[in-house]
């Protein structure tokens, strides 16, 4: 490991912290997720650091458990979108021809409809459960991953070592997973960070609209929805998720920038 820039370290630190808190939510949160500990919208005190929410639950605990749901759903959707998107994208690039045409035009079509609108249309008839949410988000997002991985892989498939592998008689699976994927990994990893953030924003938006994570489960978008009426009385409970989402987004961005920059310099990129 060579030197890591300060910005990336900060990003890594915060991202790690969020994931750590999310994984160990049960041990870290001072109260239970649905435990009523006080009156409605109490200000912050030594008992509950962020105060209480619209029905007297501890807001800090809600934020911690909510972070777990948000991060878990977003991470699962991102992984799903990457598995589907990159496999299809690499396949399209390697096979070319009509497979590529069908897949690419299909993706063009799905991307022609705004993601949120399409998700709302589908969720109007589907039961809103966590697996369905992850599936819908993952599938819709895989179109973006497909675009990127196909574009990256098309550049790689024309390389000499791919031709050498073909002449050696390697099968399609070997070429995709052993020759192309390792070389396409760095832009994909950087993109993964951005897609993850997008997924966090997306699930929060859906939950805020009441069509995402359903109560009593907590998540950041839902916390805004539950506490939005407090805003008018000057109670900032609904604004804490804003801080959480913004800091998570910025720190993941910092890490993604670093990953992208580090690998492009490995390839002998200009200007170090």
């Amino acid at each position: 490991m060579s030197r890591i820039p300060v910005s990336a370290l900060i990003g890594l630190g915060f991202t790690g912290l969020y994931f750590f808190v999310a994984i160990f939510a049960g041990w870290i949160a001072p109260y239970g997720m649905a435990e009523v500990v006080g009156g409605v919208w109490e200000p912050s005190s030594s008992q509950s650091w962020l105060g209480t929410d619209s029905i007297g639950r501890d807001l800090l605990s809600r934020m911690i458990y909510g972070g777990r749901t948000t991060i878990a759903v977003a991470a699962a959707a991102t992984v799903l979108s990457f598995v589907i998107g990159s496999i299809l994208g690499l396949t399209a690039a390697v096979l070319g021809g009509w497979v590529d045409q069908v897949l690419s035009r299909g993706v063009d079509l799905v991307m022609a409809i705004p993601t949120l609108i399409f998700a709302l249309v589908v969720l109007s008839v589907m039961p809103v459960t966590l697996p369905i949410l992850i599936l819908v988000m993952g599938l819709l997002d895989s179109t973006r991953v497909f675009r990127l991985s196909r574009a990256v892989a098309v550049d790689i498939t024309v390389m000499d070592y791919i031709e050498a592998a073909r002449l050696r008689g390697e099968g399609g699976g070997w070429i995709v997973f052993r020759e192309i994927l390792p070389n396409a990994l760095s832009p994909l990893v950087a993109e993964m960070g951005l897609r993850f953030i997008f997924a966090v924003l997306f699930i929060s938006t859906l939950s805020f609209l009441g069509l995402g994570v359903q109560p009593p489960l907590a998540d950041w978008g839902g916390i805004v929805k539950e506490n939005k009426d407090g805003i008018v009385y000057g109670i900032p409970a609904a604004l804490y998720p804003a801080i959480a989402i913004a800091t998570l987004a910025i720190s993941v961005n910092l890490v993604a920038d670093w990953v992208l920059g580090r690998t492009s310099s490995l390839k002998g990129g200009r200007g170090g």
């Binding site: 079509l109 022609a112 409809i113 009441g210 069509l211 805004v224 009385y233 913004a246």
Partner: protein, 320 residues
């Protein structure tokens, strides 16, 4: 006779746009058909008798194959008949008509403010590239694009409506209001929408102009001793129009989607709120109609971006 390449390209784009619209309508229709139950079940609920279900299906034409229903739906939609709402039986086209005007009003006001501001800020950022105005603008816009619309909405509401009482926190508008009153009522949602698209638009404008700034003719202009702002305005910007217009159109399309969430935040009587309300009620005809209209606006703006960037390219307008 050879057709002018611009005409040919534009016809291609427009045809592609129409095809996309058609395909999008199929996708939206299919999207609402993949559920295990069906619309009749959704209306009558789980406890409905099989006979009642069968009657309902017969009445709604649900026994026809899916493609027949799709053609009926599309044909009716093209004639302006978007069906009846399942929850209150009101005519969807009529309900959307009023709300579409409101949504358009909100989006247009936001666009009128956001587009010039974004371009001017982009020009300033390029002029002072790497110095404090650039850093300030870039930093602030990075912050606004990292926060989802609805949270930005509540932050703005908390600061401007609750702390300083500059504008109402709920944007109710009705027909009898004067334009000034309406503008005051929608001040907060407009601010949020402007902030959301401003960031993207300004950053992409900045990148587009910076790209042009590397060209040889810009260097020539610099060596001639022109003032930096004149170089950007006269030499760099005209050549960056095509990408900038593209950026503007993409962001206007984005605005159309952002409107959905912002309307819910500020309880604005527009199409976005109508859509979200009826998704929760599983009112399929309304959702299909709203989805179709939002998708159509989005696709039209994207096609318009293509067409304008073709028109803005002198190499295509004056072929050799």
């Amino acid at each position: 006779m050879a057709v002018h390449p611009v005409v040919k390209l534009m016809t291609q784009r427009l045809a592609l746009g129409l095809l996309l619209l058609l395909a999008a309508s199929v996708l939206i229709f299919v999207g609402t058909q993949i559920l295990p139950g069906d619309v009749a079940q959704a209306i009558l609920g789980q406890s409905a008798t099989p006979q009642a279900l069968a009657n309902m299906r017969e009445a709604m034409g649900l026994n026809d194959p899916a493609y027949v229903r799709y053609l009926h739906w599309l044909g009716a939609a093209l004639h302006g008949d978007l069906g009846q709402s399942l929850t209150n039986g009101e005519d969807v086209a009529e309900a959307i008509g009023k709300r579409f005007g409101n949504t358009l009003f909100l989006a247009v006001v936001a666009a009128v403010i956001a587009v010039p501001t974004a371009i001017i800020l982009g020009l300033i950022a390029v002029r002072y590239q790497g110095r404090w105005p650039d850093r300030l603008i870039s930093g602030v816009t990075l912050a606004t694009v990292s926060v989802p619309e609805f949270l930005l909405g509540y932050v703005v509401m908390f600061l401007l409506a609750v702390k300083y009482r500059l504008a109402p926190s709920v944007s109710t508008i009705y027909d009898t209001m004067s334009l000034g009153e309406k503008l005051h009522a929608i001040a907060l949602p407009v601010i949020v929408l402007v902030l959301v698209v401003l960031g993207h638009m300004m950053r992409m404008t900045r990148a587009a102009i910076l790209n042009v700034m590397q060209s040889a003719y810009v260097e020539t202009a610099e060596l001639k001793g022109l003032r930096p702002f004149l170089i950007i305005a006269r030499h760099a910007f005209p050549n960056a129009i095509s990408p900038v217009v593209n950026v503007v159109m993409i962001n206007l399309a984005y605005l159309v989607v952002g409107v959905v969430v912002v309307e819910v935040v500020f309880v604005y009587p527009g199409m976005g709120q109508y859509l979200v309300d009826h998704v929760a009620k599983r009112d399929v005809p309304v959702v299909q109609a709203c989805g179709l209209i939002f998708a159509a606006v989005y696709i039209i703006l994207n096609v318009a971006a293509d067409v304008i960037s073709i028109l803005a390219n002198p190499r295509l307008r004056h072929p050799k």
